[in-house]
Symmetry: C2
Subunit: 453 residues, 2 copies
């Protein structure tokens, strides 16, 4: 008889864990509970659906049916898990279609309850022209609202990467965008100079960026819509509002079962994705993750991490012995024509973690400078003076920034020193890279700085 | 009193060494001898000059004057070094303008005599419509010939990367191209399936690829031009001919001074770029280099290696203690719309070096599959079963292939295992990368293969 492996949550980590469990243990029974109707859709693609670049059908990688038939996962949508009873190894599950509850036995459990968007917390937030970018039905509603009611103005609250993507999407639809952010510059995790560049790019493309803004209230009009968003400093007309001020972990269910959580509220796991309670694993946005640069447990709600951690949880729930070592934090975003990426630690994070940081910024070319199409690539490196290791980087430019950032991401994970970077033998070809790739230019500049006192 | 540092050769490694020597030792006298008229020009950009993408002025990074004024290097063009007298630490130098010779004393010498194109070795090779892609004056002559005489047909002898680039350049000018190659598929250093793909791309773009061709003779016509190239199997009309069958090291001068060379004929150096003779360094296409994957001394005549080795030679000639550890072999080329890159060892090289090779090929997407502009990226990995290390890779596709190859280049140099690759935390953003980047898809597929017996 095979194990009974239950998985809670159908977005990223859940399907990843369930599929991997079913593949690892062919005789296991794998059941996945999802309280909504959709599973396995791409939250990150939603802004591109709003802009019209990605079709609605393309948002979902799997339906409940394809997960069942191709991955051997028994998917129960519209089922909400209301309680985990770890000692009895059971779940109390409510069927949202008929309201009944049942008790479900498990041998192993994977919690992948994800995250929820933060709320502003004042009246009007549930108006029918105020949206968050997370749930699939809300995304469809947003798209429908935009195409049917054609708002002339949008206010986006939050200057993180979803704010950037939505500003781009709305602008491409001819909607005038005001972006409110609670700091003087967008994209908090980036270095100051990159953030300035992002702001310039927003403004160059007609987005009104309002820094140090504290959203305080909505003004409500007719038809259940808000008309303005009021901050401490002014009032902004809003045919539509998007609230994108981050997410927080859905960890109440786990906490109710006595499972340990960290300072962010995210579930704590070991490298095998096991929680503090035997036989219960967790993965994805409901968890914290180890930052491989600083060594600290942190909250990084990203699909890349969720899918890898989910795999690990699923394999181990099925009796395997997989390890997910952690993440460095690797983020990329398109801000209109600009590629922006951050990998590894920010200078601030690195300092707080006790490193003696040294930073250097260079500008190189995406291709040989004289080739048509060559664009400037700006790289800021953050290194540790003592170990000479690369800790983090920002890369931005109109071409070839994100993929170069990924090379640096690998370097950070492999703990390379700046001296090793200088030796990198990289492919050079005029249409793609200069003789001295910006990565090498950056390494050489950093080495000079490390050598100077 | 500063040292007198002499450098022979003005193309890639020479200016690099001379500049670095002058910067390292501000009181040194640095003199560079170049037998031609131009220094520091981009051989790799020549095909793009022929196609018209790069202007003539843009081919040279430095003139003798700018090297003198900005880098403090005393450049003597039209000076040929005829003999190195190591025991007396002198050079015999001929001034080609007036034919006189002089004896030049050195404290340290850097040999950067580069390489020369291989010749077919039969009559007609010096005809005025037969060209090689190497010397700057020959490049200008080629461009002039094409624009003035507008040949209708071209025969390219050699299916390496210069052959690819010239086929592209000629085709873009409306010239009908026949490409003769002495193997059944182009690009000898690539894996078989990549080579097949390159051939398809050539043929799709109207290039006639003739494999297993042995060029045997030219048919000469009027006006000092050849009209056909004859092989064992046929005769090919040629309004213009390009011979691109590789290069060989210019190491006679060094050998005459008793300096050791390797099996390829290239000069042997240590990691400090010192030759077998005290006080004499060498760098660039005249040298062999250590292959960091196989551990062997090999001949890899590439500008990337020349410039780094040149730096090292220059710094050490000036009293420094720099090290150039070697190269993995990293090559990229644009074949019409296709990006093609090879990094690290080929399967054959790896096997010959004693590795138990395991190969796996995957196809992923350059961006999220459903995003407009997303293109397939094919990656073939070559790993070692015993150490589980990545040894080499081929990457090809219409977008995002070369920069991903460079990430693999770093991985090879940092000796990562496939297990480590699977853990890579990479930035994900729909316009630039899929959730599972092709690099991760490749790592996962390779891991499955390594685990199977």
């Amino acid at each position: 008889m095979g194990r009974r492996i239950l998985v809670i949550g159908g977005l990223a980590a859940g399907p990843s864990a369930a599929s991997k469990a079913a593949r690892t243990s062919p005789d296991a029974e794998v059941v996945l509970y999802e309280q909504g109707e959709a599973v396995s859709y791409g939250v990150c693609e939603i802004p591109y659906h709003i802009s019209g670049e990605v079709k609605a059908e393309a948002l979902s990688a799997f339906t409940p049916e394809t997960l069942r038939t191709t991955r051997r996962v028994d998917v129960r949508i519209l089922h909400r898990v209301e309680e985990i009873q770890p000692h009895r190894r059971t779940l109390r599950v409510r069927n949202l279609k008929d309201g009944t509850t049942s008790e479900e036995r498990f041998d192993r459990l994977v919690i992948a309850t994800g995250s929820r968007p933060r709320r502003l917390g004042f009246e009007g937030e549930e108006s029918r022209n105020v949206f968050r970018v997370k749930a699939l039905d809300e995304a469809y509603a947003l798209r429908k609202f935009v195409s049917e009611e054609r708002p002339r103005t949008a206010v986006i609250v939050g200057g993180g990467y979803i704010g950037m993507e939505m500003a781009d999407a709305f602008t491409s639809l001819g909607i005038e965008v005001t972006l409110l952010h609670n700091s003087s510059l967008p994209m908090k995790s980036l270095e100051r100079e990159t953030r300035e560049r992002v702001r310039e790019e927003l403004e160059k493309n007609g987005v009104r960026f309002v820094g140090m803004a504290q959203a305080a209230a909505f003004v409500r009009g007719r038809e259940g819509k808000v008309t303005h968003l009021v901050t401490g400093d002014g009032s902004y007309e809003a045919g539509i509002v998007v609230v994108a001020i981050g997410v927080e972990p859905n960890s109440d269910l786990a906490r109710g079962a006595g499972i340990r959580t960290g300072s962010s509220g995210g579930i704590l796991t070991d490298q095998r994705q096991q929680t503090s309670v035997d036989n219960i694993y967790a993965a994805g946005d409901c968890c914290e993750v180890k930052n491989l640069v600083t060594g600290r447990q942190v909250y990084i709600p990203l699909a890349t991490i969720a899918s890898k951690a989910g795999w690990t949880a699923g394999e181990n729930a099925a009796g395997g012995n997989a390890v997910f070592r952690g993440a460095i934090r690797a983020v990329a975003v398109r801000v209109f024509g600009l590629e922006v990426a951050q990998v590894g630690a920010s200078e601030e994070d690195a300092r707080e973690a006790g490193f003696e940081t040294v930073c250097e910024t260079i500008t190189g070319w995406s291709r040989v400078a004289v080739m048509p199409g060559s664009e400037r690539v700006t790289i800021r490196l953050i290194a540790d003076r003592k170990s000479q290791r690369l800790l983090g980087a920002n890369v931005s430019g109109r071409e070839g920034a994100v993929l170069r950032a990924n090379t640096l991401a690998v370097a950070i994970q492999q703990k390379v020193t700046i001296g090793e970077m200088q030796q990198w033998d990289l492919a050079y070809s005029p249409p793609f890279t200069p003789l001295w790739d910006p990565l090498l230019v950056a390494a050489n500049a950093m080495q000079r700085k490390l050598r100077s006192p």
